[in-house]
Subunit: 352 residues, 2 copies
Amino acid sequence: MRTISWDSETPAVRLIDQRLLPEKLEIISLRTVDEVAAAIRQMAIRGAPAIGAAAAYGYALAGQLSLATTVEALLDDLESAAVTLRASRPTAVNLAWALDRLQGVAQAARKHGPEAVRERLIEEAQRLADEDVEINQRMGCNGAALINDGDTLIHHCNTGALATVDYGTALGVIRTAHEQGKRVHVLVDETRPRLQGARLTAWELETYGIPYEIITDNAAGHFLRSGQIAAVLVGADRVAANGDVANKIGTYMLALAAGDNDVPFYCVAPTSTIDLNLPSGKQIPIEERDPSEVLELTRRGKPIAPSSSKARNPAFDITPHHLVTAIVTEVGVLYPPYTETLTRAVHEAQRK
Amino acid sequence: MRTISWDSETPAVRLIDQRLLPEKLEIISLRTVDEVAAAIRQMAIRGAPAIGAAAAYGYALAGQLSLATTVEALLDDLESAAVTLRASRPTAVNLAWALDRLQGVAQAARKHGPEAVRERLIEEAQRLADEDVEINQRMGCNGAALINDGDTLIHHCNTGALATVDYGTALGVIRTAHEQGKRVHVLVDETRPRLQGARLTAWELETYGIPYEIITDNAAGHFLRSGQIAAVLVGADRVAANGDVANKIGTYMLALAAGDNDVPFYCVAPTSTIDLNLPSGKQIPIEERDPSEVLELTRRGKPIAPSSSKARNPAFDITPHHLVTAIVTEVGVLYPPYTETLTRAVHEAQRK
């Protein structure tokens, strides 16, 4: 089952509401652009590749819902949808990347009239989603070569099928290694505040039959010092041109602990996550989410702190490139100097 | 109000049940050694200096409860109490330190008969508790010299009045700086799995009127990279002879992030926490607690992970001495080389 798909009859964007997992697997149907943007903002769907696909489907949905009879009016409606979707979350570049791609398709098809634009947008959103699955499988193969039989791995946040259209990035690498018959064991960072590790990654690993244990984010350093960890795997929300990685809050300290113990730290991300326009991580916008995510345990509604407490809640951090051993992409495993290898990889992916 | 005190009438050890904070401030009365040991094990009382005092009071209570009419029989009962108390938690050395001290007093008083032993034990437990408060205030003064007006500080776990008999270690330093009129702002690590930061430290800071914001443990690295943090302050459960620090899980990664950003990392601990018998952190036993603390959010009883999930739950980690900028004790601020300065500090404290 895909995390996100297109319902041509309604029409609607259908997706798994990840806020309800692991207790409940529920598919929700989003019939307006505002609903899609709200689902991204409220993290019913999350994960850089998945929100890229959501933005693409949301944009195609805008085409279907537009009452415009001229191309110009349709493009105006699409532009307004793009503004709404683009503002839903700031850090993952895949969202902007997907919208740029669909806007390009709309422009290219404009000479064929509004119906052709509408049709081409659905096709392109579907193609983008299909490609995401293929790309994940290719990353899985490329990355699995780095995993050995018997490895214990640390994984942060959720980077599986739920974070993508299907299969996964960092978790996709672990799945491929497992499917190749390598025995792997995963220590799953619970990933506060929203517990994507304890809720979503644990649920996926359970489904795939891959052995795992949940740990608090605090405990990763202890296990890295123990000498029992073969590698750390994470995804990415945006990779700057120099290899600095924006990823779920906590990634930076995890990378420091891996580095301090000579444990390889792998970032697994499609080339769509690479932003060559930003020279370094300093320019990546870091979303700060609602303090209630920290003060009330996610989805439980019960306060854990004094009622007058305030909180800060940055959702991502920047891991400097020198802490990243390699970046696994669909076109290969990239090593430093990233300023060269990332540019080459993006160009190679664009040629395909 | 003291975290722990002696009730001579019942007799009993009275303490704040920290599992119920911040919702409820409740004092419980422990009337047997088993109850005291259970309170330590289940973390109704926690924090290295506080469990040292609890063990001392528990040992004195054993003297009161013993029906022995000879010194030999009394010492046998006390020995059995010491075994029970010593086994309650393994990492903090203050527990063993307090029991050693009271056992020494019992031996010294044996020639005066069982009643004298019983009385001397209560006096000594009281003295140990009184000294703890004095020592904390001295550490507060010594450490406050390191804090400047306007500083934003990161603090891990709870090291305040609740972690000691009264006043606090690392939080005691912050209190003293605040009382000296320095404006400080504290980013409070929530401290998973048991949330001592979000529950206990936030509650104390609220009481003292010190401004603070709660952050997830994951977010500390992001703020340290921002250049806005003046220092990180933590307590300790045991300090080895070379300066390696055993402290609440997550301390090691926090120290790495402080070091990576040239932010001073201060450990605040009385000399009773220094264990010169252990050459390095490698020999410090690390308690692994029940997986339910990770899988069910503390005291909420609601699972956050799939019901079949397993977890690992080390309660402490080791921060290597080279990441510790200074160790603040009651006899002064110690700097490397710790093998020399720690030994000197312990001897100086013993002479007093």
